[in-house]
């Protein structure tokens, strides 16, 4: 059966809809903006392929991209572990404290990221509230991977928690209630019913959080300039080697990120496609 909300792009023009056409033209400004930015950097880089290949095979660049992606994955793993239960509690309870918790989680959204970086630094520096005791057991955050992960985690958690909370809220409480009357404990109902029905939101939250984490710069350099994540490396090369060197790394980062996102989207295209219909 055809879905009127999902008719093909061209079929709209066979039956002109002035509002849709006007909106398409207005909206295309943003698409053109993004396309031009991509096209410019692509053409610039393709003009000197030898240089691009040299940068792409530079071990410092490869290590930096791997470090950035790896730290992003660690952030997603932490969010899956800690953010998922928090999102469920926020979705299923209506306590007055919820608004306060939601506001706390959202803080990084409304702060300049340098401020977020300072907050993370103060907390995790070697004399910090958490940094000091953790240093005693051998975990150091300043200029170290844990610092990068914490800074990335701080700025990306609202993207994960909010998306997953919305997913949990979309699962009708009645379905969970029925699972419980049929003998499932609350945890089993969560695992067997709520998680599968929110799978797409969990994936979207993870992708958004990962994307936000790997794109972070300001918050990360406050606590860990070294080891250099890609953003730091691009900035470093820009200030020391100039635009050509930094834009080559930027282009590689665009290709790597775009490939990862594309693979995830294709691989999970049908995941949890019943979400909208529950």
């Amino acid at each position: 059966m055809s879905n009127p909300g999902r008719e093909s792009f061209w079929s709209r023009f066979r039956r002109p809809d002035s509002t849709l056409i006007a909106f398409s033209l207005i909206g295309s400004t943003l698409v053109i903006f993004s396309f031009l930015a991509l096209a410019t950097i692509t053409l610039t880089q393709l003009a000197d392929l030898t240089f691009l290949v040299r940068v792409a095979t530079d071990s410092r660049v490869i290590n930096s991209i791997a470090l950035t992606f790896g730290a992003g994955l660690a952030v997603v793993f932490i969010l899956l572990l800690f953010g998922t239960p928090l999102a469920y509690v926020l979705a299923r309870t209506h306590s007055r404290i919820n608004s306060l918790v939601e506001a706390l989680i959202d803080i990084p959204l409304v702060l300049p990221h340098t401020v977020a970086g300072i907050m993370v630094y103060l907390l995790f520096m070697q004399r910090g509230l958490l940094g000091a005791p953790l240093k005693d057991i051998g975990i150091v955050f300043e200029d170290a991977l844990p610092g990068i992960v914490m800074a990335m985690l701080f700025v990306s958690m609202p993207f994960y928690v909010n998306t997953v909370r919305e997913g949990f809220q979309k699962v009708p409480l009645h379905i969970e209630n029925v699972a419980r009357t049929l003998g499932a404990t609350r945890f089993k109902a969560f695992v067997l019913v709520v998680i599968p029905l929110s799978a797409r939101h969990i994936l979207n939250g993870s992708v958004l959080a990962w994307g936000r984490a790997i794109s972070e710069f300001a918050a990360v350099i406050m606590i860990a300039y070294y080891p250099m994540i890609v953003s730091t490396l691009i900035y470093y090369r820009f200030t020391t080697g100039g635009l050509k060197e930094s834009s080559a790394i930027a282009f590689l980062m665009i290709i790597a990120s775009f490939s990862v996102f594309l693979v995830i989207r294709i691989a999970t295209r049908y995941l949890g496609s019943y979400d909208d219909r529950v």
């Binding site: 009645h174 009357t181 003998g183």
Partner: protein
């Protein structure tokens, strides 16, 4: 299994159940009725263990179950929206409860197949539930609830989303389930036909309070309050004064409408009574009606059509509503303003709160 609500109070946001007490005896088919937002679903969910009372107790077979979680109560629950698991096939939906109770897979298979056959949905066993019709979803929801062999089945307006033919079919199905499984069934409903076809006893809830509890016959014969009478479908709820009384009969005057009714209220006292619209019988003004209980002259105020039925509003001192079949209304050539004779049986006049 007997269910007792003992002064149960339960607050959920702005809404609260207030000091509710009623008893559902084992094997009864009990109806909970009331307007939207009255708290009917919350009562069902409290029986299922999904809400814990703030005050009072809920007893199942005499045992306080306030601390027993839903998964240990053995209570089947079917919501109006069926709440099937959309990520599971029909078969897996029905097997869910059995898997939660750790039954051997051969036993799960046997019981699921038995239920699939019983509800005539064997051919749907591998289908996704989102593609089923309303009637098919209802069968899956009932089969899933019955799979765990519950002693109590809670039904939250289960027939309201079905077409009339399917509704009639499911009334028969529910009758069979009640008879064959020996279950205690509590059903929330707005539908008079369902209550009269299935119910043994009923309770009426309004704004979180219990307004009346009793056998279906008793509640319909003597509604406790004007609100109850109006809610259960009495179109004529009228205030009057007893003019004379004696021998179990009284004469009531309601704004000039004089009616004889079976009652023991002393003369001079105010009463509220109700009459079903189908109990107000219309006749042409020329009809000879000697010997009828209450024969009253009136004038047609309004006529509205509703399917095969015609609703006629008559000014007979007090305003009365009557329902007749459309054909009869056509035969009588009823028009607004035309005079009409009407009769009302003495026993059709039911005193409220007496």
């Amino acid at each position: 299994m007997m269910i007792e609500f003992d002064r149960v109070g339960l607050a959920l946001g702005e809404f609260s159940l207030k000091d509710i007490s009623f008893t559902v005896r084992g094997g009864e088919y009990f109806f909970i009725i009331g307007p939207s937002g009255a708290g009917k679903t919350i009562i069902l969910e409290a029986i299922a263990g999904l809400h814990v009372p703030d005050t009072g107790r809920i007893l199942l077979s005499g045992k306080d179950v306030s601390t027993i979680p839903p998964e240990q109560r053995g209570v089947g629950l079917v919501y109006q929206d069926y709440s099937l698991f959309p990520h599971m096939t029909v078969e897996k939906n029905i097997a869910f409860g059995l898997r939660m109770h750790h039954l051997p897979s051969s036993e799960i298979q046997r019981r699921v197949e038995e239920l699939l056959s019983r509800f005539g949905i064997f051919h749907l066993r591998s289908r996704e539930t989102l593609n089923l019709s309303g009637g098919e979803m209802q069968r899956v929801a009932l089969a899933r609830a019955l799979a765990i062999d519950p002693q109590i089945l809670l039904l939250d307006e289960p027939l309201s989303a079905l077409d009339p033919g399917m509704k009639e079919y499911f009334i028969q199905v529910l009758k069979e389930i009640h008879r064959d499984n020996g279950l205690t069934i509590i059903q929330v409903s707005h539908n008079r036909h369902e209550i009269l076809s299935l119910g043994t006893r009923m309770a009426l809830i309004m704004d979180g309070r219990l307004e009346q509890e009793g056998s279906v016959r008793q509640v319909y014969a003597s509604p406790a309050t004007r609100e109850v009478a109006e809610f259960i479908g009495y179109e004529n709820v009228i205030d009057g004064v007893v003019v004379s009384s004696g021998d179990g009969e009284c004469l009531i005057d309601a704004s000039g409408l004089k009616l004889r009714a079976s009652c023991t209220v002393p003369a001079g006292q105010g009463v509220t009574f109700c009459i079903g619209a189908d109990e107000v019988v219309l006749h042409s003004p020329q009809a000879s009606l000697s010997g009828k209980d209450n024969t009253v002259q009136g004038m047609v105020n309004a006529i509205t059509q509703s399917g095969y039925l015609t609703r006629v509003v008559i000014d007979a001192g007090a305003t009365l509503s009557a329902v007749i079949v459309r054909e009869m209304a056509d035969e009588m050539a009823l028009r607004v303003g035309s005079p009409v004779l009407l009769t009302i049986r003495k026993n059709a006049i039911r005193m409220i709160g007496k």
